[in-house]
């Protein structure tokens, strides 16, 4: 596995699976929720990402169930997937912290909003 920066769909899928295993449509709904409705991931984008993440060992099939006569897989993060997402989160946080620090030095007061900024 590479340690390179994750592409947006990959990061969103990993984030959607960070707290619990989910099946395909639930991941799409979770991505919509994570991004406050800004990103509506397409089914093809999701399965392209899932195929690659399964091959890279970042995601595994958690369980399979039959719903309405159809087999449905639920996916979960592997330990490697958790490490990768944690590393990406640290990288993004460092970038955001640095941006805020520089804005403050320039006399700007970034509006942190309800989220309270970065930890």
């Amino acid at each position: 596995m590479t340690d390179r920066q994750l592409q947006e769909p990959t990061r969103l899928v990993l984030t959607a699976l960070a707290d619990a295993p989910r099946h395909g449509y639930a991941i799409l709904q979770e991505v919509l929720a994570i991004t406050d409705g800004r990103t509506r991931m397409l089914t093809g984008t999701l399965y392209t990402a899932l195929d690659r993440l399964l091959q890279q060992g970042l995601v595994r099939v958690d369980h399979e169930e039959v719903v309405n006569g159809r087999l449905r897989r639920s996916f979960a993060l592997t330990e490697q997937g958790q490490d990768t997402l944690a590393g990406e989160t640290r990288r993004l946080r460092a970038g955001a912290d640095e941006a805020e620090r520089r804005l403050a030095l320039g006399g700007f007061r970034p509006a942190l909003g309800a989220n309270g900024g970065t930890a």
Binding site: R4, P9, T10, Y25, T43, T45, Y47, T48, R52, L71
Partner: protein, 320 residues
């Protein structure tokens, strides 16, 4: 309504049999739920992206397949090479036009080279879809030659067409668009293109009127011949760096070799216009490219082993 539209479009049949048997129903169910309340445009987009997913799996060019991963590794460097070639081609054309040789780059010739430079700019900004669109324009310009016959050498056009094909076939989601990946591609393009631009400028500045038929003394001819190998040297160095990095997927790193191969059909920079490539040149360039590939692969593999050995040695630090 959108759901019925999508149901009418062919999809499951596009997937390979084994994949369809294992996951076809699951994907169809997710698609049906996704387009339930979607407008017609979104539904067609959903179908198009899934159809592309199916075709990549069928052709084994997805980012999970070795061939797709190799292409994804090669694509940024193929693009870098194509853009370098485009820049030199434009510079050479401009110098010939200014010198009154009668060689005037036609619109089609510019359309074949300029989009490569624009594509590299798109990739440098992380917009791979934009880069692919420009490469497609360049490839179409080679195929249809919109403004009459191209003045460019045939071998150059074949080189570009091959490069464009590689970029377009690479799975976009597998391409390294990190800041480091983009910087490496741009650096490769500048490293390959800048010396070639210099050679073109010097040559055409000295002998513009008969640029294709100047007889040089060996002291000049040998360095000029050597300059045809320069882009391949740059790409081979990129291959070495990738193969030598244990953090990079080995298949993807090996794919960078594909960015070295097209340079078999390379010409000295000032001869991009109206100069055929003969069999002797092809053999010579082929031998040089293969030798570079072998040397870069050997050095890269040794470097990877050394770094892996350094990483597992207790107390060792990664200095590279």
């Amino acid at each position: 309504m959108s759901g019925s539209l999508v149901r009418r479009l062919p999809l499951r049949g596009l997937y390979p049999v084994a994949y369809r048997a294992a996951h076809g129903e699951e994907i169809a169910a997710v698609l049906a739920e996704s387009v339930q309340d979607a407008d017609r445009r979104t539904a067609v987009r959903e179908w198009a992206v899934l159809a592309a997913h199916a075709l990549r799996l069928r052709t084994r060019l997805s980012s999970r397949d070795p061939a797709g991963r190799a292409l994804a590794g090669a694509a940024p460097f193929v693009l870098a090479g194509g853009a370098a070639l485009g820049a030199v081609h434009l510079v050479a054309g401009f110098l010939l036009w200014r010198s009154g040789t009668g060689v005037v780059p036609a619109l089609g010739t510019v359309a074949q080279s300029a989009p490569w430079v624009a594509a590299l700019l798109g990739a440098a900004l992380g917009r791979w879809a934009v880069a692919r669109a420009f490469v497609l324009v360049a490839v179409v310009a080679v195929v249809v030659q919109p403004a009459g016959p191209s003045l460019s050498a045939d071998s150059l056009l074949q080189l570009w067409a091959a490069m464009g094909g590689l970029v377009l076939l690479a799975p976009p989601d597998g391409v390294d668009l990190s800041r480091r990946g983009r910087s490496r591609a741009v650096a490769c393009s500048i490293a390959a293109g800048l010396p070639m631009c210099g050679i073109a400028a010097i040559w055409l500045g000295l002998w513009p009127e008969d640029f294709a038929n100047v007889l040089f003394p060996p002291s000049v001819q040998v360095p000029l011949d050597a300059s045809t190998a320069w882009p391949a040297v740059v790409m081979a160095f990129a291959l070495l760096l990738h193969l030598g990095d244990p953090r990079v997927d080995r298949v993807q790193a090996g794919g960078v070799a594909l960015a070295v191969l097209p340079w078999v059909a390379m010409l000295p920079p000032p001869l991009y216009y109206n100069t055929p490539l003969d069999g002797h040149d092809l053999l010579r360039d082929g031998a040089v490219v293969l030798a570079l590939l072998a040397a870069a692969t050997a050095a890269g593999v040794l470097r990877r082993r050394a770094r892996l050995a350094g990483a597992v040695r207790p107390g060792a630090s990664d200095l590279a």
